[in-house]
Symmetry: D4
Subunit: 208 residues, 8 copies
C-alpha cells in the first residue's frame, strides 16, 4: 500500500539539470542565493564524481531567461546540452528524451528552476514513462514556500522520491571505503561544517 | 499505488472562482495582501488568456461577506455568475454544478476564500463526481498555516492536485512558441522579477 | 487509490474532547495561548450549537496535569465525563468507548492535548475500530512544530481527516439558510475579523 | 487504502541509535542544540526505562565524524556497539542487522544523525525487510528544513511512522498505573514544563 | 546621556485609545486577530480597573474605516469620545487635546491602529508638548513588521517608552497587596496561562 | 537628550528615488517582490499626488545594474534624472546635490536599492549637510534582514527618521478633509485591505 | 554622546535572580523551554563559579506563581532569599535593596521572569540608584517577541547593557589562563556544541 | 545629539579578523553555514582588494577551538597573526593592540566569532581607546538571534557602526570608475545574484 524503497544505484542513474539559467535564477526565492548556488554546484560535482551521465537543458536561452550558469556548462563540456526551442516541459522535447534513453539508465535524478514547472513537469512525465524518479529538492528552486510545497505534494503523490543532494551522494556511494578521499573532498567543498571537522581533525592528527 | 499524472489541457479545463469577496478577503492571513491580490488577478488573467470557461460564485454577497472583488467581475462580464443563496459548499448549488457541466470540461481549476471551506468542499465533491481537480494554492487564502495545511492534506489525500497559478499557466501553454508575446505579457504583469528580466533584456537588445 | 471524501454530517457526528486540562495546557507551544484558548472554546461552542453528543475525558486530573478547563466543564454539564484512572490512550478506557458507542454515531470529531498522544492515539484506535475520524488540528496542541507534524503525518497516513474548527462548523451547517443568526453568532464570537465585518455591516445598514 | 495503525509494544520493540557522534552533531541545524541534546538523551532514557534492547552504531568514529556522544555510551555500557568500518547505510553492515535480528523484535525505533542518510537509509531498508519502523523525528537531526522534510516525505511514503520521543514513551507505557513514579521521573527530567507542574503540585500538596 | 526612568503612576496617567475601528482592524497584520483583540480589551480592562481617565477617538467613522469596536464603547460609556472630522494626527484635533488637558495628567498611555500613524503621530506630538508618553506596543497594530519597527524606532528615538499592556498593569499596580483579587481577575481574564495557574492552584487548595 | 519630532511638511519636502533599477532589484530579498513593487510604486504615486519635487538617479544603468524601472520613469517624465557615471554615494555626485538644493526643500524623503548603500550613504551625507532626512523603509530593499537592520541602526543612530510610505502619506496629508477622494484613491490603489473596505462600503451605501 | 563601555568585573558584580518560579515559567514563550532552562542554570552556574554574591527573590510563592525553581534554591543554599510579600518591582522591597547594598558591589547582573516586569522594573530602578546594570537577555523570559523587544528598548534607552550569559561569563573571566578547566567545564555543561568540540578534541589527543 | 556620520576611508582603515576558527565556527547558528562562509571570505577578499592592513588573531588554537580557517591564513600569509595565549578580549593582548597601532589607522573594521564576545569586547575597547569602529555584522556569527541582538545593542549604544561587508566595500570604493573590473569581480565572486546579472549582460553584449 506504500511506495517501495527505490535505492539509487550509481550504475542505474542519470542526472538531468533543467533550466539553471542566469535570468531564471532571479526568480528563486525559497533559498538564500549563497546556499542555492552551493547546492546546485554540489549536485553538479557529485554527478561528475560518480561519473553519472548528465544532461543539460535550457529554455529560451537567448531571451530574458538568460544563458545557463557558466559553471555548469564548464563542468560538463561534453554532456548532451539541449537548448529547447520552446517546450516548457522538457519531456516534450524529443531530443531530450532521446538523450535520456541513450544513457540506458532507469533512475533519473532531476533538479532545476523553477520547481513546480521545470522540475515537476518532466519528473511527472518520467514517472509516467516508467522511470524511477528522484528530485533533488535543495538544488531546485522556486518563488516561495507555497509554490514549493504544492510542487512537492504533486510529485510525491505521483511516486517521485524527494531527496537532498547530500542524501543522493551518500546513497550512491554506499560505503566510505569505496573512496574515502573522494567523498571527503566533495563534502569538504560543499558542506562548510564538514570542512571544519576535517580541518580540526587534520590539524590535530598532523601535529601530533 | 500512487496518483497518476493528470496533465492540464486547455481544451479540457474550466476555472471556478469561489467567494473572492471584499469582506471575506479580510479573513485571509496566510498571504500578504499585496501578493494575494496579485495571485488572484493572475489566475483571472490566465483563465482569460487561455479562454477557459470560467464560473464565478459568491456566498451571501449582500451581507457582511461583501461583494465579489470588482476586478474579477469586470474581467469576466459574461461568465456565469452564481450568487449562492446559502449553500456553503458551492457544489450543493444545482445552478453552479449545472454551469460546470455545461462547459463540458472534465478538468476543474479551483481557487477561493477560505481554502478549507470554499475551496476544499467543492474540490472534494468534484473528485467524488469524477472530475479531475486542480486547486490553485496561491490564489486560495485562509486564516493561517494550520488551517491551510489541514485543508491541503485533506484535499491531497482525496486526489486533488495542488498547483501554483504559474504552474497552471505553464502546463496549459505547453510550448512558448504557441505565443511568446502572450505568455510573456502575462508573466510581465504578474511576476515582478520576470518583468525586470524582460526590461533589462529589451533595453539591451533595443539599444544595440 | 485515494481516501474518499467523508463528509461530516451533524446527525452522524460526536465530539471527543481529550485532556484539555489546566496543567497540560502549559505544554502547548505550537499555538499562541490566546489563539488556542479561542479555538478550543470555539470547538466547544460549535458542538453545543449543533447539539452534537460530546464526551469529555481527562487524564490524572488530581495530579500535576490539573483539572479540566472550567469553561468546558460548564459548557457541557450533562455530558459524559470520564476522568481516566491511568490509560494514556483514551480508547483503552472501556467506559470512554462505551460512551462513544452509546451515541450511536459513526463520525468522531476529536481534539485534545497533546496532539501526538491524547489525540493521535484514540484517533488511530477509532479508525481501526471502523469509525470515520476527523481531527480538529487547531483545537489540538503540542510542544512544537516537529511533534505536530509527526502526529499529523501519522494520522493522515492512517486515514484521519485533518480539519480546522471553522471547516467543521461549515461542513456541519451545510447551508446558511438553516440558521443565519446562529452560525453568525458563532463566528462573531470566535473570529474577530468576521465580527468586524458584521459590526461594520450592521452599523451601516441600521443607520441608513 | 491507508497505512494501518501499528502500535508500539514494549515487548516487541528495539531501539537503534545511529551516528550520534560529536563531530556529526555540528551538522545538525534543524534543532537548537540544547533542545536536540535533550531529545536524544530523553530517547536514551526511555529506551533504558522500558528495558528495550538498544543498539548503538557509529560511522568512521576515528575520523572527523568523531566519537559517539559519551552520555549514550555510558547509558548503554553493555549494548551492542557497532562502529561501522565504512557502510553509510547501517543496514548494509551485517553485524548491525545480526544484532537487530538477535533481539527477536519486529518493531524498530530509529533515531540518528543526519536524518536523510543515517536514519532514512536503514529505516527504508528495515521496512523492505519486513519490520515495523518508527522514526523518532525529534531525536534525529539534519542540515535544515528542506533536507528534513524531504527525508520525512520519503520515509512516510514508504510506510515509516513518524513519532516524537514523548509519543514513543506514552505509547509504550500504555497506562500511568503501570508505574507513575517512573514515567513521571522521565518526563520531569526531560520536559521542563512538566517538571514545573510537578514542582508546583508537590509543593502545594506537601505543605498543606 | 540616556532616557531617565519614567515610572507610570496611576494618579498621573491617562489612556488614549485611538482609532480601534472595525474597518481599520482589517489592516492589522502584525498580530494574530485573536491575540490582538485580547490585548486591546486587556488594555481597556486595565484602564477601567485603575480608574484611569480614558479618551476614545475615531477617524471618519461613518466611512470605510467603520465604527469603533463596540466592546470599547460599552466599556467606557461616559468617557470623552471624539470622532475626528478629518485630522489624521489626533493631536491636531483641539477637542482631543482639550480632553487630555482636562484630565490634568502628565503621563499618557497610548494605543491604536495603525501604529505608525494613529499611534506614532499623537505620541510624538505629546512628547513635544511636554508629556511623558508610554505606547502600548501589543495593543497597537499595523501592516507588518517593517512598518512596526520603523514606527517603534521613530518613537523610541523621540523618548517614547514602549511597553506591553501587562507591564503597564504591573507598573501601575505596584504591589499585589493593593488588591490581589482585582489584579488576579484581570490577569485571569486576559492571560490564559495565568488563568490555568490559578485554576490548578484553586482546585488543589480547595479540595485539600 | 532625544531626537526631536521632525514632522513632514508637504511644502518642505522633496523625494529622492535612488537606483530602483531592473537589474539591482534582483538583489532585493528582504521583501516579497509583489509587495516591494507595490511599495515603490506607492511612494512614487504619493510623491506625484502631493506634487513633491522628485529626483531620480541611477548607477551605471548601461551595465548589469540595468535601466530604471520603467513605471518610475513614466511617472516622472520631467523630473531631474541623474544617471551617475560612477559615484556610489549619490551625494558625491554634484549634479544630484545641485538638483536637491534647487528644490529649496529642507526635508528629504529617500528610498532606494540597496538600503545599506544607495539609501544609507546619501541619507547620512544629507544629515551631515543639515537636511532633515526621512527614509522610507518599505520602499528600500536589500539582501536580507541582517543587512537591513545594520543599515537601519546606522541611519537611526545618525538621526534619520525611519518611516513607511503609508506614514509618509498620512503625515503629509494632515487632514482627510484636504482631499478625501485623492487620499482614498491612493490607498485604494496600494492597500488591498483598504480597497476592500471601500468596495464593501460603496456597495452598501449605493445600493441602499 | 554614547553610553561608555562598562566592563563587568568579577570583584564588582552581584547577581540578582528574580522570580524564576515554577508557575511563572509557564508564561515564558519567547524561548524554547529546554533552552531557557539551560540558560537559567548556566547563569546560576557562572554566578557560583565566579563566586559572585547572588540574591534570590520570588513573588507570591505560596500562590499560583509557585515556588522558586528547586535547582536554583539548591545551588545557592546560603544566598539571601527574599520572598516578596507583594511588591512587583523587587526594588520596592527594602530587604532586597538592603541585601544588594550589603554586597558592596556596584555592578548588577539581573535576570528573571517576566522580562518587562520582574527584570525591567528593578533594572530601571537600579540605574536610577546609580548602579551599573547588565541584563542577561537569554536567562530572562516573557510572553512573546513584542513584549521582549519593548522591554529591551526601554531598558537600553535607560542605559542598561544587554548581554547573554555566555558574554557575561567571558567578560568576567578575562583570560582563559585564569582557569582553563573551570571555564571549560562551565561551557561543556551548558553549550552542547562546545562540549562536542571538547569530546572530539579529548578523544583525539588521548588516543594518540 | 546623535552619532555623526563616520565614513570609511580606505586610507584610514584596518581590518581585524578575530577567532574565525574551525572549532568555534560550529557555535555559529545565526547564519546558514554556506552564507556565513561566503560572507567571511568576502570580507577577506575586500580587505585584500583595498590593500587594507589586516590582522588575524585566534584564541587557544591548539585546543578545542581549533585552527584558524585555512582560507584566511592563505589569503593573508604576511599579515600579523596573533594566536592569543589566553586573553578573551583581544584588546587585552598587548601584541594585538601594538599591531593595530603599527598600522597607523584610526578606523577599525572588525568581524569575528562569536559576536558578543570576540567581536563586541575588542570593539568596545577600541571605542574607549578613541578609534572609529565598524563591525561587519554579516561576517560575525553567534549562537542565535537573542545573543546577536544583545551584542548589537550594546555595541550600537557605545557608538559602534554596524555594517554589512557589501556596504563596507561600497563605502571604501567610493566610485565605480576607480576600478570597475575589480569591484565587479569581487561582487561576482560573492553575490550570486550579481554574478547572474553580469552573466546575462556579458552574454548579450558579446553575442550582439
Amino acid at each position: 500500500m506504500t511506495t517501495p524503497y527505490k535505492r539509487l544505484d550509481k550504475d542505474q542513474a542519470a542526472v538531468l539539470l533543467v533550466d539553471h539559467q542566469a535570468g531564471l535564477l532571479s526568480l528563486v526565492r525559497d533559498f538564500d542565493p549563497d546556499k542555492f548556488k552551493n547546492n546546485v554546484l554540489a549536485l553538479g560535482a557529485l554527478a561528475k564524481y560518480f561519473r553519472l551521465p548528465t544532461i543539460l537543458t535550457t529554455s529560451f536561452e537567448n531571451g530574458p531567461n538568460g544563458p545557463i550558469v557558466p559553471e555548469l556548462k564548464e563542468m560538463f563540456p561534453d554532456a548532451p546540452f539541449i537548448p529547447r526551442p520552446g517546450q516548457i516541459n522538457a519531456w516534450d522535447n524529443e531530443e531530450f528524451v532521446a538523450a535520456i534513453r541513450a544513457t540506458g539508465k532507469k533512475q533519473l535524478i532531476i533538479a532545476g528552476v523553477v520547481t513546480e514547472v521545470c522540475v515537476a513537469f518532466p519528473a511527472l512525465s518520467a514517472i509516467e514513462a516508467g522511470f524511477e524518479v528522484f528530485v533533488v529538492t535543495d538544488a531546485s528552486g522556486t518563488f516561495n514556500d507555497v509554490t514549493r510545497h504544492s510542487a512537492w505534494d504533486r510529485m510525491s503523490s505521483a511516486g517521485v522520491q524527494l531527496m537532498s543532494w547530500f542524501a543522493v551522494a551518500c546513497e550512491l556511494h554506499r560505503d566510505w571505503r569505496n573512496d574515502v578521499e573522494g567523498l571527503g573532498a566533495l563534502f569538504s567543498a560543499h558542506v562548510p561544517d564538514y570542512r571544519n571537522l576535517i580541518t580540526s581533525f587534520s590539524t590535530l592528527t598532523q601535529t601530533r
